[in-house]
Symmetry: C3
Subunit: 328 residues, 3 copies
């Protein structure tokens, strides 16, 4: 799923000098070129600024097309002389500041003031309830249905044959065809990302989207946050039960089944054909392989290889779980 | 609680030949009688089609009034010669298809297009908020109250002295008297039942209701799904705290107290006077006896006898739990 | 945070004789003075009635300014002769009855009938969406924003620069400045407090408020219940992720970070700078110190001292948790 992001307006006049100002860096003599965007190592192009914050990404560092990056003194010697380096104390804080520079509206979490009551015949064969609010430039495919009091914010794209329930809120999302989004679901809110800071935390910008594949079902009262720099993704034909929470940047594959009240912390990567039982929790920044089964109530705190069946807290191979609890 | 189901229109012209067509069965010579309905073994009457899918139900098989059933080759020899047998590969898939045949609208999960803004004086002594939407043939007892933006879909029945909060959605439900349903609760949605199927899962029809006994309290943002073939039931004077999730076919007895964020997987059967602590999870298809206490955060994965006090994941007798964790 | 409670109208004509009548106590010869209020030991003034129900509070008993209290025979000999004692069988049941006597409206959980569609220019620089409902005497600071379909019930106070999402319900709450309350959150509902009683539970009155400090963020679909006698408090700069549930009387300190789907049972007391991972559960009536870290999925069932890092169910020091699970 490759989509342009229609939700955030980019400032196309960011130069190196603006970056240095935003980071409060003085006396650093580097060429004041114009920058196109801020991107992760593997996504960055030649005129994008990027960042390096962990030896985990050393391979990506070697392959990135970017030539200007932010890093800390700790990692500076790992960066080749070909790069223009901007030294920072805290990489993520610097990324947040520079992202905000490119996307000045990315911290705004206020409601969409551009919505209005849906107009008859605006969308082809759309059935809609009372008090449905639609933003500007919303695209809705044919034969869709939107329930009462639902809000589709500006620039959202919805494919053919989708069924949206009542009291649903969708923002910053691109939804493929034949998708069901049930009552009370909230899609596309800014993720829970911030820098703890005494008295006033510093919020992390979230310029990612939520991408929902075809034939997906999203349960009642689900909350699916949009990504920070990358997107939050739900793959084709994946079904989510009620009260599931999916944090920013999580990517779930195809044909997964996720039962009620399951929660995903940020940035985890899940494969295809995964089954997750009710109330299980998936930690952040881990990788779950294809064809994995996770028992209800499990707490998954580390990556799980393909074709594995786990249960428990912390989750372990189900054979070990059953052995350890045989007298339960 | 015995109620007729006013929510799904039955096709009264289903014959054996229609069943065979729907199941793609050819060359089976059986009498083309007219069928009345599809029912579980113990509920089925003489002209209903039923099904047999587990030796667990062998006693019910002997007692059922139905004379025509679907089963697999594996169980065929357990079925007496008195039955007309329709052999199938997957019993539940066949049940889903035949249920849809009797109830063509049972897979439709779209919002109720027949609601309209509530009319003054339509219900006796009803207090109601702004933007309350009421479907067709809704019955509401005297002295009730319905908060802002709430939606009561067609054919719902609500008893006397009920208090419904704001942003509540009720469909496919029959509610007894003196019930409180708090803000944001969603009652009666189709359950999370489907057959995993690559690319396009097959949804299971849900023709059950939600039955809520008298003096019940349902907390904020609860989700209570309706049953598939049978009903989801909350017994008299049972109280549910906020963010509780109850899946299809769950039956909870009387005088139970269920704390915040508890989740029930489908089809479990709970007795009376049960207390469940916050965030506990109850697996599907198990039986919890009367007077059981389940500690907060427990994961109950097997049936629990009467008068038992359990805790842990998996839940065990609390004395064993405390012994095992005495150095915690 | 010290605020007068503008939400419940007090009956200022309660005398000792009314208390005895409500408790069905006859033949007790005590002076029929006029009572000002019912308060906990440490909050009570000279003309307030109070109560004593546990040796835990023996120090508060010695210091209270009240001179009239309710207690059981079991504790009577711990109470000095200076007090007028009203003997009761069940202290909390008596407190509930007398609270209702002072606050006849405290059991009413119906929607606010006094709201109306927000009027233009009523609040300074307020941006608001469609169908926003505002109660009587609501105070909203400057430069706030309130999303679509949100309901702010009567007497609620909101500080400057607050951002309230869509589908939010706020009642019985006082909110400081720079607070964000995201879509679908429900603040100020009556807590889940009642006396189990066959056939008809007895509800506990809730006359507390929800107090939210400055710079707080409350996530989507959160439920935060108001206090019973005391208040539910969220301290300055504390951030809550989506689907968090906070029960009555919980007091959370400053600069805390609470991840998705965390749940708090009633009356627990949390310090400052606490980090809680997703889906963790905090039992009722415990104390969590400052600078505590609680791992995702943990079940905290007892008090935790300052500067501790815990994980597990039941939660234990993380070093012990890791040791016990090293082969997981």
């Amino acid at each position: 799923m490759n989509y342009n992001n229609p939700f955030f307006k980019k400032n196309n006049n960011v130069k190196v000098i603006d970056v240095l100002k935003a980071l409060n860096i003085k006396n650093l003599k580097i060429k004041n070129i114009k920058l196109n965007n801020i991107k992760e190592l593997d996504q960055a192009n030649i005129n994008d600024i990027t960042f390096f914050n962990s030896t985990k990404y050393i391979d990506l560092l070697k392959k990135t097309k970017s030539k200007i990056l932010m890093t800390t003194n700790k990692y500076r010697n790992l960066v080749s002389k070909d790069f223009t380096v901007i030294p920072v104390h805290n990489v993520f804080l610097a990324v947040a500041k520079i992202t905000e520079l490119f996307y000045p509206d990315s911290l705004n979490d206020s409601f969409d003031k551009n919505v209005s009551i849906i107009k008859k015949n605006k969308f082809k064969n759309l059935k809609y309830g009372k008090n449905v609010l639609i933003g500007k430039n919303v695209k809705i495919g044919k034969n869709c249905s939107i329930g009462h009091n639902s809000i589709i914010e500006s620039n959202v794209i919805i494919g053919d044959n989708c069924i949206i329930g009542s009291n649903v809120i969708i923002k910053k999302a691109i939804i493929d065809k034949n998708v069901k989004i049930l009552d009370g679901a909230i899609i596309g809110k800014k993720g829970f990302g911030f820098f703890p800071n005494k008295n006033v935390n510093i919020r992390y910008p979230h310029i990612g989207m939520v991408l929902i594949g075809k034939n997906v079902e999203i349960g009642c009262n689900n909350t699916i946050d949009r990504g920070s720099l990358s997107n939050t993704i739900i793959g084709d034909n994946t079904f989510l039960d009620n009260q599931v929470h999916i944090a920013h940047n999580v990517k779930i594959g195809k044909n997964c089944s996720i039962a009620g009240q399951v929660g995903f912390a940020g940035s985890s990567l899940l494969g295809n054909n995964i089954m997750i039982g009710g109330q299980a929790g998936i930690s952040g920044h881990i990788k779950i392989g294809n064809n994995v089964k996770i028992g209800g109530g499990s707490g998954v705190v580390k990556s799980i290889p393909d074709n594995t069946n786990v249960m428990g807290y912390p989750a372990k191979d189900i054979r070990n779980f059953l052995k350890d609890n045989k007298n339960g």
